[in-house]
Amino acid sequence: MTSIKSARTARSQDRVSAILRDPESLRRYSMADWDLLIRQARSSGLLARIRHVLAQHHLLERIPDVARWHFDAAATLADKQQLAVRWEVAQIQQALAGMAIPVVVLKGGAYVMADLPAAAGRLFNDIDILVPREQLNQVEAALMLAGWHPTGLSAYDQRYYRRWMHEIPPMQHMQRATVIDVHHAILPDTARYHPDSGKLRSRAVAVAGLPGIHVLAAEDRILHSATHLFHDGELPHGLRDLTDLDLLLRDAATAPEFWTHLCARAEELQLGRSLFYALRYVQYFLDTPVPDSAFAALQAAAPGRFTLALMDRVFTRVLAPSHASCADAYTPAARLAAYVRAHWLRMPAHLLIPHLFHKAFIRTEQDSEAPKPA
């Protein structure tokens, strides 16, 4: 399988991934470049992460004085959020203590709890946890007693979540307004692929000091991040999630036989296709070192030539910063394609078509106010 790095055009306006690939390139920056970098980084939720990378490369001094506060302010917010995430996870642990329910913290929350490089400069919207399906009702009740309540979704969205989704409607804390997403699987029941949540839980790693709280094992963490990214229809934080993957991969790749284990685990969990795309696009955007052997091992799960050519056209657009400067004439079509594709993977046609119809035409006031199941 040929790499698509060569397809990256010199014309690309994407300053964010350019600076993450090559932080030293900021030495050639004009004020107009700084202007564009900050705007793209803000809309991608990556200002604080870029600041972290520049600090690692001793390049903070290179940021012009008038531009520096944007990075510092975002880092202030990110630091505060990391503290808040630790606090919230401890609150969840307390709410569920004594129920002997294994709780797995997913995504950003897990990166913080496991002190991973992927936590650095990361901004959060919510905390995701995974619990066994059989205990979902118990967990929901316990969280409600501790002050989290289901968000005000429309009756349609409520039904949709509870009948078809792999999570219950987001729960928001009455006082702190923090949001938890409670999952019982990493993909909806209706999806093409069914990674076994029991298998994920069986290898989960306990978080020191918080009995009952776990994070996924290194390979599973990467597979979940990849699956989430390539099954999500709206991708508002596509590039941020891709940089998470880049950091997770670089960190985990120091373990012996990492790539062999990762690809084998992907096959075991039916997530080979998602991993294939993840590796292809982290390479494209962020120059993540991925050995050819990994692509070879995923050959059976890889898409055909035509599909791949199409996906390249879609994902090189929708994973770029969601900023006008990175859009071209095909970006709206690419976004629509990604949206439809994600839904196509998540539910069969006899459910998908009525659902998209409802979302397109029967949008109530409440639907548009509340977080939507995508």
Binding site: M31, A32, D35, S43, V66, W69, T76, L83, H323, A324
Partner: protein, 308 residues
């Protein structure tokens, strides 16, 4: 170059094209709009502010005010505030385009500028010391602020008190002063020098207009000031002018609750807030007559400061 040096057609051309670049206090803006009332508002109120060619300059905030691109524009004309492509607010009636720019700019600063502890308060300065005027809406804060800055006090801000987290100094952001309902006529009657722009009616805050910031305040917009007082104004019909000391602990709690980003700053917010409170005198201030209120403030500025 100052904005007033641009010809009206040049300003119009920039606004509807690459945007008008402006510096307000520590922030630079790029404003784009095809709406005539936005151009008029900028000409009327921002004449003394520095502008540059926006094509070559860095801007902190890129904002745009234009009609939403829906069919509705033909039925009921509206305006959207766009912050670099994202829409933080619902559209408003077109008549409110100019106030929406001001509200939107306040939002830009309060949501992003975490290098400051940002308190929702007006702030004015005399003899090197700043008076912070936090108060709930309806307390006459903006009227008092307008009265003070028309009487020789320097306008630092009428909405956002920016406290530098490193130095503890207050950074000016002397944008136009927002006046609501009766205060528009009160200020017109108070001073012939006041320039107040065209009012927008039926906004969420009633009738709203903006007063041009004094030229001297704009000229000194990069000169920070030391906090001197925190004063809670309360306008009461027919009341005597009374300045009474107020508990520092209570004042701190109020400021923390009325800071836009106190909780984002973690322990540093507490440190900046308590340092501020240690260095200021705190008062409640009741008034009904603006000239008397200004005289009371002048006496306060003339007396040696207790603290420090």
């Amino acid at each position: 170059m100052k904005l007033l040096q641009l010809s009206p057609s040049e300003l119009q051309q920039r606004l509807s094209g690459p945007g008008v670049w402006l510096r307000t206090g520590p922030f630079s803006l790029r404003v784009q709009s095809r709406i005539p009332s936005v151009a008029k508002g900028l000409v009327d109120l921002y004449g003394q502010f520095e502008t540059r060619d926006s094509r070559h300059a860095f801007a902190d905030f890129h904002v745009e005010l234009n009609a939403p691109s829906t069919l509705r524009r033909w039925l009921r004309p509206q305006v959207d505030f766009s912050f670099d492509g994202s829409l933080p607010f619902k559209p408003l009636p077109l008549d409110q385009a100019y106030p929406m720019l001001e509200w939107g700019l306040n939002w830009c600063v309060s949501m992003h500028a975490h290098q400051y502890l940002i308190i929702h308060a007006a702030v004015v300065e005399k003899n090197g010391l700043a008076a912070i005027l936090p108060a709930p809406p309806g307390s006459g804060k903006s009227t008092l602020t307008a009265g003070l800055v028309l009487s020789g006090w320097r306008l630092l801000s009428d909405e956002l008190t920016l406290i530098d987290r490193l130095s503890g100094l207050i950074h000016p952001l002397p944008r136009p002063v927002s006046l609501k309902n009766q205060s528009i006529d009160v200020i017109r009657g108070f001073s012939l020098e006041a320039f107040i722009n065209r009012a927008s009616h039926d906004t969420a805050k009633g009738t709203v207009a903006h007063m041009r910031p004094p030229r001297e305040s704009v000229r000194r917009q990069h000169e920070p000031a030391r906090p001197g007082w925190v004063i809670f104004p309360k306008w009461t019909a027919g009341a005597e002018t009374v300045l009474s000391p107020r508990s520092k602990a209570q004042t701190f709690m109020f400021l923390a609750q009325n800071a836009f980003n106190y909780s984002h700053l973690g322990t540093d917010g507490f440190r900046v807030g308590t340092t501020l409170i240690e260095h200021v005198d705190c008062y409640d201030f009741q008034y009904s007559q603006l000239p008397e209120a200004v005289a009371a403030f002048d006496r306060l500025a003339a007396t040696p400061h207790d603290v420090d």
